[in-house]
Symmetry: C2
Subunit: 303 residues, 2 copies
Protein backbone atom coordinates (compact mmCIF):
# COMPACT_ATOMS: atom_id res chain seq x y z
CA UNK A 1 0.00 0.00 0.00
CA UNK A 2 1.37 3.48 -0.87
CA UNK A 3 2.24 5.69 2.11
CA UNK A 4 -0.61 8.17 1.47
CA UNK A 5 -3.14 5.31 1.29
CA UNK A 6 -1.79 3.77 4.50
CA UNK A 7 -2.04 7.13 6.27
CA UNK A 8 -5.63 7.67 5.14
CA UNK A 9 -6.53 4.08 6.11
CA UNK A 10 -5.12 4.45 9.63
CA UNK A 11 -6.84 7.83 10.07
CA UNK A 12 -10.18 6.39 8.92
CA UNK A 13 -9.75 3.48 11.32
CA UNK A 14 -9.20 5.96 14.19
CA UNK A 15 -12.39 7.78 13.13
CA UNK A 16 -14.31 4.47 12.88
CA UNK A 17 -13.50 3.38 16.42
CA UNK A 18 -14.15 6.93 17.61
CA UNK A 19 -10.76 7.68 19.16
CA UNK A 20 -10.41 10.71 16.89
CA UNK A 21 -13.16 12.80 15.32
CA UNK A 22 -13.05 14.47 11.91
CA UNK A 23 -13.39 18.28 12.09
CA UNK A 24 -13.55 18.92 8.35
CA UNK A 25 -9.96 20.22 8.25
CA UNK A 26 -7.00 17.93 7.45
CA UNK A 27 -4.79 17.44 10.49
CA UNK A 28 -7.29 18.78 13.03
CA UNK A 29 -9.10 16.25 15.18
CA UNK A 30 -11.50 16.09 18.09
CA UNK A 31 -10.38 13.57 20.68
CA UNK A 32 -12.46 11.02 22.56
CA UNK A 33 -12.04 10.84 26.34
CA UNK A 34 -10.39 7.42 25.81
CA UNK A 35 -7.73 8.99 23.56
CA UNK A 36 -7.12 11.75 26.11
CA UNK A 37 -6.64 9.12 28.82
CA UNK A 38 -3.79 7.63 26.75
CA UNK A 39 -2.18 11.07 26.41
CA UNK A 40 -2.42 11.60 30.16
CA UNK A 41 -1.01 8.16 30.96
CA UNK A 42 2.02 8.68 28.73
CA UNK A 43 2.54 12.24 30.04
CA UNK A 44 2.61 10.95 33.60
CA UNK A 45 5.04 8.17 32.67
CA UNK A 46 7.40 10.75 31.14
CA UNK A 47 7.15 12.94 34.25
CA UNK A 48 7.96 9.96 36.50
CA UNK A 49 10.82 8.66 34.35
CA UNK A 50 12.90 11.11 32.37
CA UNK A 51 14.19 13.85 34.63
CA UNK A 52 15.29 13.65 38.26
CA UNK A 53 13.61 16.22 40.51
CA UNK A 54 13.82 19.06 41.31
CA UNK A 55 12.35 20.80 38.29
CA UNK A 56 9.63 23.41 37.75
CA UNK A 57 6.55 22.05 35.98
CA UNK A 58 4.57 24.49 33.80
CA UNK A 59 1.76 24.31 31.29
CA UNK A 60 1.52 27.09 28.73
CA UNK A 61 -1.60 28.09 26.80
CA UNK A 62 -1.84 27.36 23.05
CA UNK A 63 -1.00 30.98 22.18
CA UNK A 64 2.13 32.86 23.18
CA UNK A 65 3.43 36.44 23.14
CA UNK A 66 4.34 37.71 19.68
CA UNK A 67 7.42 39.53 21.03
CA UNK A 68 8.75 36.22 22.36
CA UNK A 69 8.03 34.45 19.06
CA UNK A 70 9.90 37.19 17.17
CA UNK A 71 13.04 36.49 19.21
CA UNK A 72 13.00 32.73 18.52
CA UNK A 73 13.81 33.25 14.80
CA UNK A 74 11.06 30.75 13.95
CA UNK A 75 10.00 33.02 11.06
CA UNK A 76 13.43 32.55 9.53
CA UNK A 77 13.27 28.75 9.65
CA UNK A 78 9.61 27.70 9.42
CA UNK A 79 7.46 30.65 8.22
CA UNK A 80 5.06 28.26 6.48
CA UNK A 81 4.31 26.39 9.73
CA UNK A 82 3.58 29.37 11.99
CA UNK A 83 0.19 30.72 13.04
CA UNK A 84 -0.18 34.45 13.61
CA UNK A 85 -3.39 35.51 15.40
CA UNK A 86 -5.40 38.35 13.88
CA UNK A 87 -8.58 40.03 15.09
CA UNK A 88 -10.94 42.91 14.27
CA UNK A 89 -10.08 46.42 15.46
CA UNK A 90 -12.32 48.56 13.25
CA UNK A 91 -15.34 50.85 13.34
CA UNK A 92 -19.05 50.04 13.17
CA UNK A 93 -19.00 50.76 9.43
CA UNK A 94 -15.98 48.50 8.85
CA UNK A 95 -17.73 45.81 10.88
CA UNK A 96 -20.76 45.96 8.58
CA UNK A 97 -18.40 45.43 5.63
CA UNK A 98 -16.70 42.55 7.44
CA UNK A 99 -20.02 40.79 8.04
CA UNK A 100 -20.94 41.32 4.37
CA UNK A 101 -17.64 39.71 3.32
CA UNK A 102 -18.19 36.70 5.59
CA UNK A 103 -21.73 36.20 4.29
CA UNK A 104 -20.69 36.49 0.64
CA UNK A 105 -17.68 34.20 1.08
CA UNK A 106 -15.27 37.08 0.44
CA UNK A 107 -11.73 37.61 1.76
CA UNK A 108 -12.77 38.71 5.24
CA UNK A 109 -9.54 37.74 7.03
CA UNK A 110 -7.76 40.42 4.95
CA UNK A 111 -9.69 43.06 6.93
CA UNK A 112 -8.21 41.97 10.27
CA UNK A 113 -5.37 43.35 12.41
CA UNK A 114 -2.49 41.40 13.98
CA UNK A 115 -2.92 40.81 17.71
CA UNK A 116 -0.16 40.53 20.33
CA UNK A 117 -0.19 36.72 20.20
CA UNK A 118 0.75 33.84 17.88
CA UNK A 119 0.09 30.13 18.17
CA UNK A 120 2.68 28.32 20.26
CA UNK A 121 5.51 27.21 17.96
CA UNK A 122 7.04 24.90 20.60
CA UNK A 123 6.11 24.03 24.18
CA UNK A 124 9.39 25.53 25.44
CA UNK A 125 9.37 28.87 23.60
CA UNK A 126 7.34 30.79 26.24
CA UNK A 127 9.82 29.58 28.87
CA UNK A 128 12.98 31.46 27.90
CA UNK A 129 11.87 35.00 28.83
CA UNK A 130 11.24 33.65 32.35
CA UNK A 131 14.97 32.90 32.57
CA UNK A 132 16.27 36.33 31.57
CA UNK A 133 19.07 37.50 33.84
CA UNK A 134 21.55 35.59 35.99
CA UNK A 135 20.77 31.89 36.62
CA UNK A 136 21.49 30.15 39.92
CA UNK A 137 24.47 27.78 40.21
CA UNK A 138 23.68 24.60 38.31
CA UNK A 139 21.18 26.34 36.00
CA UNK A 140 17.44 25.69 35.93
CA UNK A 141 15.37 22.73 34.83
CA UNK A 142 11.78 22.76 33.62
CA UNK A 143 9.07 20.42 32.49
CA UNK A 144 6.67 22.10 30.06
CA UNK A 145 3.51 20.80 28.47
CA UNK A 146 1.32 22.43 25.90
CA UNK A 147 -0.57 22.44 22.64
CA UNK A 148 1.63 23.44 19.69
CA UNK A 149 0.63 24.42 16.18
CA UNK A 150 2.01 23.75 12.72
CA UNK A 151 0.10 24.99 9.71
CA UNK A 152 0.57 21.85 7.61
CA UNK A 153 -2.75 20.23 6.62
CA UNK A 154 -2.07 16.52 6.06
CA UNK A 155 -4.03 13.29 5.77
CA UNK A 156 -1.35 11.63 7.93
CA UNK A 157 -2.90 11.37 11.41
CA UNK A 158 0.65 11.56 12.83
CA UNK A 159 1.03 15.02 11.29
CA UNK A 160 -1.52 17.08 13.19
CA UNK A 161 -1.84 20.85 12.94
CA UNK A 162 -2.57 21.11 16.69
CA UNK A 163 -0.79 18.60 18.93
CA UNK A 164 0.60 18.06 22.42
CA UNK A 165 4.30 18.48 23.14
CA UNK A 166 5.93 17.52 26.45
CA UNK A 167 9.45 18.87 26.98
CA UNK A 168 12.17 18.69 29.58
CA UNK A 169 14.38 21.75 29.33
CA UNK A 170 17.71 22.71 30.86
CA UNK A 171 19.14 26.23 30.86
CA UNK A 172 22.64 26.83 32.23
CA UNK A 173 26.27 25.82 31.65
CA UNK A 174 27.14 24.54 28.11
CA UNK A 175 28.51 21.19 29.36
CA UNK A 176 25.49 20.54 31.53
CA UNK A 177 23.19 21.37 28.61
CA UNK A 178 24.95 18.80 26.43
CA UNK A 179 24.66 16.19 29.22
CA UNK A 180 20.92 16.99 29.66
CA UNK A 181 20.40 16.35 25.96
CA UNK A 182 22.45 13.15 25.86
CA UNK A 183 20.99 11.66 29.04
CA UNK A 184 17.43 12.62 28.00
CA UNK A 185 17.92 10.89 24.65
CA UNK A 186 19.20 7.73 26.35
CA UNK A 187 16.35 7.62 28.86
CA UNK A 188 13.76 8.47 26.21
CA UNK A 189 14.94 5.66 23.93
CA UNK A 190 14.77 3.22 26.84
CA UNK A 191 11.29 4.41 27.85
CA UNK A 192 9.88 4.15 24.31
CA UNK A 193 11.50 0.76 23.63
CA UNK A 194 10.09 -0.42 26.98
CA UNK A 195 6.62 0.35 25.63
CA UNK A 196 7.24 -2.10 22.81
CA UNK A 197 7.89 0.51 20.13
CA UNK A 198 10.59 -0.32 17.55
CA UNK A 199 12.66 2.86 17.81
CA UNK A 200 15.94 4.16 16.48
CA UNK A 201 17.70 7.49 16.77
CA UNK A 202 18.69 9.47 13.70
CA UNK A 203 20.14 12.91 13.03
CA UNK A 204 17.17 15.21 12.39
CA UNK A 205 16.42 16.70 9.01
CA UNK A 206 14.01 19.55 9.75
CA UNK A 207 12.00 21.08 6.86
CA UNK A 208 13.70 24.49 6.94
CA UNK A 209 12.07 26.86 4.46
CA UNK A 210 13.49 27.80 1.08
CA UNK A 211 17.02 28.30 -0.21
CA UNK A 212 18.36 29.81 3.03
CA UNK A 213 16.83 26.82 4.80
CA UNK A 214 19.01 24.41 2.84
CA UNK A 215 22.05 25.82 4.63
CA UNK A 216 20.38 25.82 8.04
CA UNK A 217 19.43 22.17 7.52
CA UNK A 218 22.98 21.24 6.48
CA UNK A 219 24.45 22.92 9.54
CA UNK A 220 21.89 21.23 11.83
CA UNK A 221 22.85 17.84 10.34
CA UNK A 222 26.61 18.42 10.31
CA UNK A 223 26.72 19.38 13.96
CA UNK A 224 24.11 16.75 15.00
CA UNK A 225 22.41 19.44 17.08
CA UNK A 226 19.06 17.65 16.91
CA UNK A 227 18.58 13.92 17.26
CA UNK A 228 15.20 12.39 16.55
CA UNK A 229 13.78 9.11 17.72
CA UNK A 230 11.70 7.56 14.96
CA UNK A 231 9.29 4.63 14.76
CA UNK A 232 7.08 3.31 11.95
CA UNK A 233 3.49 4.55 12.24
CA UNK A 234 2.05 4.51 8.74
CA UNK A 235 5.14 3.54 6.80
CA UNK A 236 8.09 1.18 7.36
CA UNK A 237 10.17 3.17 4.86
CA UNK A 238 9.50 6.61 6.31
CA UNK A 239 9.24 6.22 10.08
CA UNK A 240 7.83 9.14 12.10
CA UNK A 241 9.74 11.21 14.68
CA UNK A 242 8.05 10.75 18.07
CA UNK A 243 10.74 12.37 20.21
CA UNK A 244 13.67 14.72 19.73
CA UNK A 245 16.68 15.75 21.77
CA UNK A 246 18.10 19.15 20.99
CA UNK A 247 21.13 21.26 21.74
CA UNK A 248 20.01 24.82 21.21
CA UNK A 249 23.41 26.13 22.36
CA UNK A 250 23.09 29.93 22.78
CA UNK A 251 20.12 30.23 20.39
CA UNK A 252 17.83 31.30 23.27
CA UNK A 253 20.47 32.50 25.73
CA UNK A 254 21.52 35.40 23.50
CA UNK A 255 18.15 36.92 22.46
CA UNK A 256 16.60 36.46 25.91
CA UNK A 257 19.67 37.66 27.82
CA UNK A 258 20.14 34.52 29.93
CA UNK A 259 23.43 34.21 31.84
CA UNK A 260 25.00 31.39 33.79
CA UNK A 261 25.86 31.98 37.45
CA UNK A 262 29.33 32.91 36.19
CA UNK A 263 27.97 35.60 33.87
CA UNK A 264 28.52 33.72 30.59
CA UNK A 265 25.77 33.37 27.97
CA UNK A 266 23.69 30.37 29.00
CA UNK A 267 23.15 27.38 26.76
CA UNK A 268 19.92 25.38 26.63
CA UNK A 269 18.88 21.88 25.66
CA UNK A 270 15.52 20.19 25.49
CA UNK A 271 14.15 16.70 25.22
CA UNK A 272 10.72 16.75 23.57
CA UNK A 273 8.06 14.07 23.23
CA UNK A 274 5.40 14.36 20.53
CA UNK A 275 2.76 12.95 22.83
CA UNK A 276 0.08 12.52 20.17
CA UNK A 277 2.54 10.70 17.93
CA UNK A 278 3.60 8.36 20.73
CA UNK A 279 -0.06 7.53 21.40
CA UNK A 280 -0.64 6.87 17.68
CA UNK A 281 2.48 4.68 17.53
CA UNK A 282 1.20 2.67 20.52
CA UNK A 283 -2.23 2.26 18.89
CA UNK A 284 -0.58 1.22 15.63
CA UNK A 285 1.80 -1.24 17.27
CA UNK A 286 -0.43 -2.81 19.92
CA UNK A 287 -3.91 -2.34 18.42
CA UNK A 288 -6.77 0.12 18.79
CA UNK A 289 -8.07 -1.28 22.09
CA UNK A 290 -5.68 -0.40 24.96
CA UNK A 291 -7.43 -3.09 27.03
CA UNK A 292 -5.74 -5.64 24.75
CA UNK A 293 -2.24 -4.17 24.95
CA UNK A 294 0.55 -6.37 26.40
CA UNK A 295 0.41 -6.36 30.18
CA UNK A 296 4.03 -5.15 30.43
CA UNK A 297 3.02 -2.04 28.47
CA UNK A 298 -0.19 -1.53 30.47
CA UNK A 299 1.66 -1.81 33.79
CA UNK A 300 4.05 0.94 32.76
CA UNK A 301 1.29 3.30 31.63
CA UNK A 302 -1.13 2.53 34.47
CA UNK A 303 1.07 1.44 37.42
CA UNK B 1 -9.60 49.64 46.54
CA UNK B 2 -10.65 50.42 42.95
CA UNK B 3 -11.59 47.38 40.83
CA UNK B 4 -8.53 47.70 38.56
CA UNK B 5 -6.20 47.84 41.55
CA UNK B 6 -7.88 44.84 43.16
CA UNK B 7 -7.53 42.88 39.91
CA UNK B 8 -3.83 43.73 39.58
CA UNK B 9 -3.25 42.90 43.26
CA UNK B 10 -4.88 39.44 42.94
CA UNK B 11 -2.97 38.73 39.73
CA UNK B 12 0.32 39.73 41.36
CA UNK B 13 -0.48 37.50 44.35
CA UNK B 14 -1.05 34.56 41.96
CA UNK B 15 2.33 35.31 40.33
CA UNK B 16 4.03 35.61 43.74
CA UNK B 17 2.89 32.16 44.93
CA UNK B 18 3.71 30.75 41.51
CA UNK B 19 0.27 29.40 40.59
CA UNK B 20 0.27 31.54 37.43
CA UNK B 21 3.26 32.80 35.49
CA UNK B 22 3.51 36.14 33.66
CA UNK B 23 4.09 35.73 29.90
CA UNK B 24 4.57 39.42 29.11
CA UNK B 25 1.09 39.69 27.53
CA UNK B 26 -1.94 40.81 29.56
CA UNK B 27 -4.41 37.97 30.05
CA UNK B 28 -2.01 35.19 29.02
CA UNK B 29 -0.51 33.03 31.76
CA UNK B 30 1.63 29.98 32.21
CA UNK B 31 0.18 27.62 34.79
CA UNK B 32 1.94 25.72 37.53
CA UNK B 33 1.24 22.00 37.87
CA UNK B 34 -0.60 22.81 41.14
CA UNK B 35 -2.97 25.17 39.27
CA UNK B 36 -3.57 22.52 36.61
CA UNK B 37 -4.43 19.98 39.31
CA UNK B 38 -7.21 22.31 40.49
CA UNK B 39 -8.56 22.60 36.94
CA UNK B 40 -8.55 18.81 36.60
CA UNK B 41 -10.24 18.28 39.96
CA UNK B 42 -13.06 20.69 39.13
CA UNK B 43 -13.43 19.24 35.60
CA UNK B 44 -13.85 15.75 37.05
CA UNK B 45 -16.39 16.99 39.60
CA UNK B 46 -18.45 18.55 36.79
CA UNK B 47 -18.27 15.32 34.78
CA UNK B 48 -19.45 13.28 37.81
CA UNK B 49 -22.22 15.68 38.79
CA UNK B 50 -23.97 17.67 36.11
CA UNK B 51 -25.24 15.36 33.39
CA UNK B 52 -26.60 11.83 33.68
CA UNK B 53 -24.92 9.34 31.33
CA UNK B 54 -25.01 8.41 28.52
CA UNK B 55 -23.20 11.23 26.77
CA UNK B 56 -20.27 11.47 24.34
CA UNK B 57 -17.19 13.06 25.82
CA UNK B 58 -14.91 14.98 23.43
CA UNK B 59 -11.92 17.32 23.70
CA UNK B 60 -11.32 19.71 20.84
CA UNK B 61 -8.00 21.37 19.97
CA UNK B 62 -7.55 25.12 20.53
CA UNK B 63 -8.08 25.86 16.84
CA UNK B 64 -11.15 24.99 14.77
CA UNK B 65 -12.19 24.93 11.11
CA UNK B 66 -12.76 28.38 9.63
CA UNK B 67 -15.79 27.14 7.65
CA UNK B 68 -17.46 26.07 10.91
CA UNK B 69 -16.61 29.40 12.58
CA UNK B 70 -18.15 31.27 9.64
CA UNK B 71 -21.48 29.49 10.20
CA UNK B 72 -21.67 30.37 13.91
CA UNK B 73 -22.15 34.11 13.16
CA UNK B 74 -19.52 34.90 15.79
CA UNK B 75 -18.10 37.59 13.48
CA UNK B 76 -21.45 39.38 13.63
CA UNK B 77 -21.54 39.44 17.43
CA UNK B 78 -17.96 39.46 18.74
CA UNK B 79 -15.54 40.38 15.90
CA UNK B 80 -13.18 42.05 18.37
CA UNK B 81 -12.78 38.86 20.44
CA UNK B 82 -12.01 36.41 17.61
CA UNK B 83 -8.64 35.06 16.57
CA UNK B 84 -8.04 34.27 12.89
CA UNK B 85 -4.90 32.22 12.16
CA UNK B 86 -2.60 33.45 9.39
CA UNK B 87 0.59 31.93 8.01
CA UNK B 88 3.19 32.44 5.29
CA UNK B 89 2.50 31.14 1.78
CA UNK B 90 5.02 33.07 -0.30
CA UNK B 91 8.18 32.65 -2.35
CA UNK B 92 11.81 32.62 -1.30
CA UNK B 93 12.09 36.31 -2.18
CA UNK B 94 8.98 37.21 -0.18
CA UNK B 95 10.40 35.21 2.71
CA UNK B 96 13.58 37.30 2.68
CA UNK B 97 11.40 40.43 2.88
CA UNK B 98 9.37 38.89 5.73
CA UNK B 99 12.52 38.15 7.74
CA UNK B 100 13.74 41.70 7.11
CA UNK B 101 10.41 43.07 8.43
CA UNK B 102 10.60 40.93 11.57
CA UNK B 103 14.18 42.00 12.27
CA UNK B 104 13.43 45.69 11.74
CA UNK B 105 10.26 45.57 13.84
CA UNK B 106 8.09 46.23 10.77
CA UNK B 107 4.51 45.12 10.03
CA UNK B 108 5.36 41.52 9.18
CA UNK B 109 1.96 40.01 9.98
CA UNK B 110 0.51 42.05 7.11
CA UNK B 111 2.49 39.83 4.70
CA UNK B 112 0.70 36.65 5.84
CA UNK B 113 -2.18 34.66 4.36
CA UNK B 114 -5.30 33.40 6.16
CA UNK B 115 -5.18 29.68 6.96
CA UNK B 116 -8.13 27.27 7.17
CA UNK B 117 -8.37 27.59 10.95
CA UNK B 118 -9.32 30.10 13.64
CA UNK B 119 -8.93 29.97 17.41
CA UNK B 120 -11.79 28.14 19.11
CA UNK B 121 -14.52 30.68 19.90
CA UNK B 122 -16.39 28.29 22.23
CA UNK B 123 -15.78 24.71 23.32
CA UNK B 124 -19.03 23.59 21.67
CA UNK B 125 -18.63 25.25 18.26
CA UNK B 126 -16.68 22.39 16.61
CA UNK B 127 -19.41 20.01 17.76
CA UNK B 128 -22.37 21.08 15.61
CA UNK B 129 -21.09 19.90 12.20
CA UNK B 130 -20.80 16.41 13.76
CA UNK B 131 -24.59 16.49 14.25
CA UNK B 132 -25.57 17.41 10.70
CA UNK B 133 -28.45 15.27 9.44
CA UNK B 134 -31.19 13.38 11.28
CA UNK B 135 -30.72 12.89 15.03
CA UNK B 136 -31.80 9.74 16.88
CA UNK B 137 -34.94 9.77 19.05
CA UNK B 138 -34.23 11.78 22.17
CA UNK B 139 -31.49 13.83 20.51
CA UNK B 140 -27.79 13.68 21.42
CA UNK B 141 -25.83 14.78 24.46
CA UNK B 142 -22.17 15.73 24.62
CA UNK B 143 -19.56 16.80 27.09
CA UNK B 144 -16.89 18.99 25.48
CA UNK B 145 -13.71 20.41 26.92
CA UNK B 146 -11.25 22.76 25.34
CA UNK B 147 -9.13 25.87 25.32
CA UNK B 148 -11.04 28.91 24.04
CA UNK B 149 -9.71 32.29 22.96
CA UNK B 150 -10.89 35.87 23.37
CA UNK B 151 -8.69 38.68 22.13
CA UNK B 152 -9.21 40.96 25.13
CA UNK B 153 -5.96 41.81 26.93
CA UNK B 154 -6.85 42.61 30.56
CA UNK B 155 -5.10 42.92 33.90
CA UNK B 156 -8.03 41.03 35.46
CA UNK B 157 -6.76 37.46 35.99
CA UNK B 158 -10.38 36.29 35.60
CA UNK B 159 -10.40 37.67 32.06
CA UNK B 160 -7.86 35.49 30.29
CA UNK B 161 -7.26 35.53 26.54
CA UNK B 162 -6.79 31.73 26.51
CA UNK B 163 -8.90 29.75 28.98
CA UNK B 164 -10.58 26.40 29.59
CA UNK B 165 -14.28 25.90 28.93
CA UNK B 166 -16.20 22.75 29.92
CA UNK B 167 -19.65 22.40 28.37
CA UNK B 168 -22.55 20.00 28.46
CA UNK B 169 -24.52 20.25 25.26
CA UNK B 170 -27.88 18.89 24.13
CA UNK B 171 -29.07 18.82 20.53
CA UNK B 172 -32.61 17.66 19.75
CA UNK B 173 -36.26 18.54 20.47
CA UNK B 174 -36.96 22.17 21.53
CA UNK B 175 -38.65 21.19 24.82
CA UNK B 176 -35.83 18.86 25.79
CA UNK B 177 -33.28 21.58 24.98
CA UNK B 178 -35.04 24.00 27.31
CA UNK B 179 -35.12 21.34 30.06
CA UNK B 180 -31.39 20.60 29.55
CA UNK B 181 -30.63 24.29 30.06
CA UNK B 182 -32.90 24.71 33.09
CA UNK B 183 -31.77 21.51 34.83
CA UNK B 184 -28.10 22.25 34.08
CA UNK B 185 -28.45 25.71 35.60
CA UNK B 186 -30.07 24.28 38.75
CA UNK B 187 -27.41 21.58 39.18
CA UNK B 188 -24.58 24.01 38.38
CA UNK B 189 -25.79 26.51 41.00
CA UNK B 190 -25.99 23.72 43.56
CA UNK B 191 -22.52 22.42 42.69
CA UNK B 192 -20.88 25.86 42.89
CA UNK B 193 -22.67 26.82 46.11
CA UNK B 194 -21.61 23.44 47.54
CA UNK B 195 -17.99 24.51 46.96
CA UNK B 196 -18.59 27.50 49.23
CA UNK B 197 -18.84 30.07 46.45
CA UNK B 198 -21.40 32.87 46.97
CA UNK B 199 -23.26 32.58 43.65
CA UNK B 200 -26.35 34.06 42.07
CA UNK B 201 -27.91 33.73 38.64
CA UNK B 202 -28.53 36.76 36.45
CA UNK B 203 -29.69 37.34 32.90
CA UNK B 204 -26.54 37.66 30.78
CA UNK B 205 -25.47 40.91 29.20
CA UNK B 206 -22.93 39.85 26.55
CA UNK B 207 -20.61 42.51 25.05
CA UNK B 208 -22.06 42.38 21.52
CA UNK B 209 -20.10 44.62 19.16
CA UNK B 210 -21.20 48.05 17.98
CA UNK B 211 -24.60 49.54 17.16
CA UNK B 212 -26.08 46.35 15.71
CA UNK B 213 -24.87 44.62 18.87
CA UNK B 214 -27.07 46.85 21.03
CA UNK B 215 -30.12 45.20 19.48
CA UNK B 216 -28.69 41.70 19.76
CA UNK B 217 -27.96 42.32 23.45
CA UNK B 218 -31.48 43.65 24.08
CA UNK B 219 -33.07 40.62 22.43
CA UNK B 220 -30.80 38.24 24.42
CA UNK B 221 -31.88 39.95 27.65
CA UNK B 222 -35.60 40.21 26.82
CA UNK B 223 -35.88 36.53 26.04
CA UNK B 224 -33.54 35.46 28.88
CA UNK B 225 -31.81 33.12 26.42
CA UNK B 226 -28.59 33.16 28.43
CA UNK B 227 -28.39 32.97 32.21
CA UNK B 228 -25.06 33.52 33.92
CA UNK B 229 -23.96 32.42 37.35
CA UNK B 230 -21.79 35.12 38.90
CA UNK B 231 -19.57 35.31 41.99
CA UNK B 232 -17.27 38.03 43.34
CA UNK B 233 -13.63 37.44 42.37
CA UNK B 234 -11.94 40.84 42.35
CA UNK B 235 -14.97 43.04 43.02
CA UNK B 236 -18.09 42.78 45.18
CA UNK B 237 -19.86 45.30 42.94
CA UNK B 238 -19.06 43.65 39.61
CA UNK B 239 -19.08 39.88 40.19
CA UNK B 240 -17.63 37.64 37.48
CA UNK B 241 -19.58 35.07 35.40
CA UNK B 242 -18.17 31.61 36.14
CA UNK B 243 -20.89 29.57 34.42
CA UNK B 244 -23.61 30.12 31.85
CA UNK B 245 -26.70 28.25 30.72
CA UNK B 246 -27.82 28.95 27.19
CA UNK B 247 -30.75 28.30 24.93
CA UNK B 248 -29.35 28.58 21.42
CA UNK B 249 -32.74 27.60 19.93
CA UNK B 250 -32.20 26.95 16.17
CA UNK B 251 -29.04 29.11 15.98
CA UNK B 252 -26.89 26.03 15.21
CA UNK B 253 -29.64 23.70 13.94
CA UNK B 254 -30.31 25.85 10.86
CA UNK B 255 -26.76 26.58 9.54
CA UNK B 256 -25.50 23.06 10.28
CA UNK B 257 -28.64 21.30 8.95
CA UNK B 258 -29.45 19.39 12.15
CA UNK B 259 -32.87 17.72 12.31
CA UNK B 260 -34.77 16.02 15.11
CA UNK B 261 -35.83 12.41 14.63
CA UNK B 262 -39.15 13.84 13.39
CA UNK B 263 -37.45 15.93 10.70
CA UNK B 264 -37.88 19.34 12.38
CA UNK B 265 -34.99 21.77 12.80
CA UNK B 266 -33.18 20.76 16.00
CA UNK B 267 -32.68 23.12 18.92
CA UNK B 268 -29.61 23.13 21.11
CA UNK B 269 -28.75 24.20 24.62
CA UNK B 270 -25.51 24.24 26.55
CA UNK B 271 -24.35 24.58 30.11
CA UNK B 272 -20.81 26.00 30.22
CA UNK B 273 -18.32 26.30 33.06
CA UNK B 274 -15.47 28.80 32.83
CA UNK B 275 -13.10 26.39 34.54
CA UNK B 276 -10.26 28.89 35.04
CA UNK B 277 -12.66 31.39 36.56
CA UNK B 278 -14.08 28.77 38.95
CA UNK B 279 -10.54 27.91 40.08
CA UNK B 280 -9.74 31.61 40.61
CA UNK B 281 -13.00 32.08 42.56
CA UNK B 282 -12.07 29.13 44.79
CA UNK B 283 -8.57 30.54 45.37
CA UNK B 284 -10.05 33.96 46.13
CA UNK B 285 -12.70 32.60 48.49
CA UNK B 286 -10.78 29.88 50.34
CA UNK B 287 -7.19 31.13 50.04
CA UNK B 288 -4.20 30.43 47.82
CA UNK B 289 -3.23 27.13 49.46
CA UNK B 290 -5.75 24.39 48.56
CA UNK B 291 -4.35 22.34 51.47
CA UNK B 292 -6.05 24.86 53.77
CA UNK B 293 -9.44 24.82 52.07
CA UNK B 294 -12.47 23.68 54.11
CA UNK B 295 -12.61 19.90 54.30
CA UNK B 296 -16.15 19.83 52.84
CA UNK B 297 -14.76 21.55 49.72
CA UNK B 298 -11.69 19.32 49.55
CA UNK B 299 -13.77 16.14 49.83
CA UNK B 300 -15.90 17.21 46.86
CA UNK B 301 -12.91 18.01 44.67
CA UNK B 302 -10.74 15.05 45.75
CA UNK B 303 -13.21 12.31 46.81
Amino acid sequence: MATGDAQAAFRDELFRVGLLVDTGVAGLYGRAAAYDDLLDAFDSLVTRTIMEPPFTSLRFPPVMARWVFDKTEYVKSFPDLMGSVHTFRGTDRQHAELVRLVESGGDWPGALTASDVVLASAACHPLYPLCTGRLPDGGRRFEVNGYCFRCEPSIDPARMQAFHMHEHVFVGEPDAAQRHRDLGLEKGLELLAGLGLPVESVVANDPFFGRAGTMLAASQRDEALKIEVVTPITSEDAPTAIMSANCARDHFGIPFGIETSQGETAHSACVAFGVDRVVLALLRTHGLDPGDWPSVVRRKLWP
